[in-house]
């Protein structure tokens, strides 16, 4: 260990145990520069006092961009001068998080030169997170990153860096090319990504199938989740092989089907696909025997968010099934209309899900010119009064 390290008995506790430790990592980074040592010192003090010592900066950034840099200052700059500025940069990750080792080394080299050397691969937004640099290093870091074809990601009231599961690159269940769509939307909406103009943040997350590995249903204002509309492909021989090898198909597959639409007579597996809700459970248990159907596309849902102003929302259905094919005009047209109404009518810091809840789904659908369908109903109505339009009289 470097001998410039402060005395940190509280933090040292977090190095114990078999799991990875961020304290260990920060101590390693301290060998490359002075920021990490001061970071440990300030954090130890925070742990002792149970008080955070960071101030938010609201103005730092790079020329022309309104997002991607999150300003942080220490409120103990005399005691910890090396982290007096400790700004975070979000860097747009490649779709599916695929890198060459050369790209990773280049990013690390730039960050050891320009910042603390500490990274978070990856933040919950999906971005590469570079933790800790000074205001005067922001532009040079940006220039260096552009030199290796990386760009800054989103933050603030803008389109956040779109992110996706590795989809067709590695996963047999991908029902559409998540990486292609992510790349396309990222390039198409560069202005929205770098120039915040929304009432609040907006996130796209693409998952290739209902397993939803990027948790888009809970974390994206627009969740694009792969699915199929024909029948689950079944290889009956492979089903029997699972049974022969000891899988209890009745209790592990049939009984766990949420729509109770499967039957197993010991020889054949029957699925009533008209009741299947595409939950993936049976396919996950018997991947050699079952696979998604052949007519594949995605369900598009809107409105999920973590609790900040209102409570947490899950996304709800907008399009039960659409084909996902370039140039993705259907998605883009809908997105443009949604953004128009939300920008025009949305309140400051109101996510689109909260906006829809406030104005009512019916009015929102009217504004974006989409007809309601039964799949949009999240739960049965609680209000027993029904007014049919033909009963209204003009006064």
């Amino acid at each position: 260990m470097a001998d410039n390290l402060p005395n940190t008995p509280m933090l040292d506790e977090l190095e114990k145990g078999k799991w990875p430790s961020f304290v260990k990592e920060i101590k390693m980074a301290a060998k490359h520069g002075p920021m990490a040592a001061d970071l440990l010192g300030q954090l130890e003090q925070s742990y002792n006092e149970k008080i955070g010592h960071w101030k938010h900066g609201g103005i730092v950034g790079v020329m022309g961009y309104g997002g991607g840099v999150i300003g942080r200052y220490s409120d103990l700059p005399q005691k910890f001068p090396n982290i007096s500025h400790f700004h975070t940069m979000r860097i747009n990750q490649p779709a599916g998080w695929f890198y060459t080792t050369k790209a990773l080394r280049s990013i690390c080299d730039i960050w050891e030169k320009r910042g603390s050397g500490l990274t978070n691969m990856h933040g919950s937004t999906g971005d590469i997170i570079l933790l800790g640099t000074t205001t005067d290093q922001l532009e040079p870091t940006f220039t260096d990153l552009q030199g290796i074809d990386f760009d800054i990601g989103g933050s603030g009231s803008d389109l956040r860096t779109p992110s996706c599961c590795c989809g067709m690159a590695r996963c047999e269940w991908a029902c559409y090319d998540t990486m292609a769509l992510t790349y396309d939307l990222t390039m198409h909406y560069q202005d929205e990504l770098h120039r915040p103009a929304f009432p609040y943040k907006f996130k796209f997350k693409m998952s290739g199938c209902p397993n939803d590995c990027v948790a888009s249903i809970a974390r994206a204002d627009m969740s694009i989740i792969g699915t199929w509309r024909d029948e689950i492909q079944v290889d009956q021989d492979a089903v029997r092989e699972y049974a022969d090898r000891g899988l209890d198909i009745q209790s592990d597959v049939i009984s766990n089907c949420p729509s109770k639409c499967m039957e197993w007579d010991g020889k054949e597996l029957h699925i009533d696909n008209s009741f299947c809700v595409r939950c993936m459970h049976c396919i996950n248990v018997m991947p050699k025997a079952l696979r998604p159907g052949k007519d594949r596309g995605a369900t598009i849902l809107i409105g999920s968010k973590a609790p900040i102003i209102e409570g947490a929302f899950l996304s709800s259905v907008l399009f039960p099934f659409i084909k996902i094919e370039p140039p993705y005009d259907m998605i883009k047209d809908t997105v443009d209309k949604m953004w128009d109404v939300w920008c025009e009518e949305g309140k400051n810091r109101e996510r689109i899900g909260e906006f829809i809840q406030r104005v009512g789904l019916g009015n929102f659908l009217d504004a974006i010119e989409i007809d309601p369908v039964p799949e949009m109903v999240a739960h049965p109505r609680e209000n027993p009064y029904v007014f049919y339009e033909e009963y209204y009289e003009e006064d």
Binding site: K55, H56, G57, G58, I59, G61, M63, G64, Y65, G66, G67, I70, G71, Y73, S74, P77, S84, H85, T135, S155, G156, S157, D158, D191, R195, P196, A197, P199, Y200, C343, E344, N348, R349
Partner: protein, 81 residues
């Protein structure tokens, strides 16, 4: 007569200047103000280009305080030397 990007950018700049230190304006506040002042002589696209020009010329900067705003460049209260 349709307003040019420059004219809109100037009008927006004056709004931001007058509001500085008193009220933080969002891009949509500027756009809505332009529409209410100039009516049919502006559209949202021109407003978007005007904002782009204000930012790219360095006359205004984006700031973040819970949400994103447009302000004159200045030294912020939280900044350390």
């Amino acid at each position: 007569m349709a307003k040019t990007v420059e004219e809109i950018a100037d009008a927006m700049f004056n709004m931001v200047k007058d509001a500085q230190g008193q009220k933080k304006l969002k891009p949509m506040d500027l756009t809505k103000a332009m529409v209410s002042i100039f009516g049919d002589e502006v559209d949202k696209k021109t407003c978007k280009l005007a904002i782009k020009q204000l930012i790219d010329s360095g006359k205004c900067v984006y700031t973040y305080f819970g949400g994103s705003y447009i302000e004159l460049p200045h030294r912020e209260g939280a900044a350390n030397d």
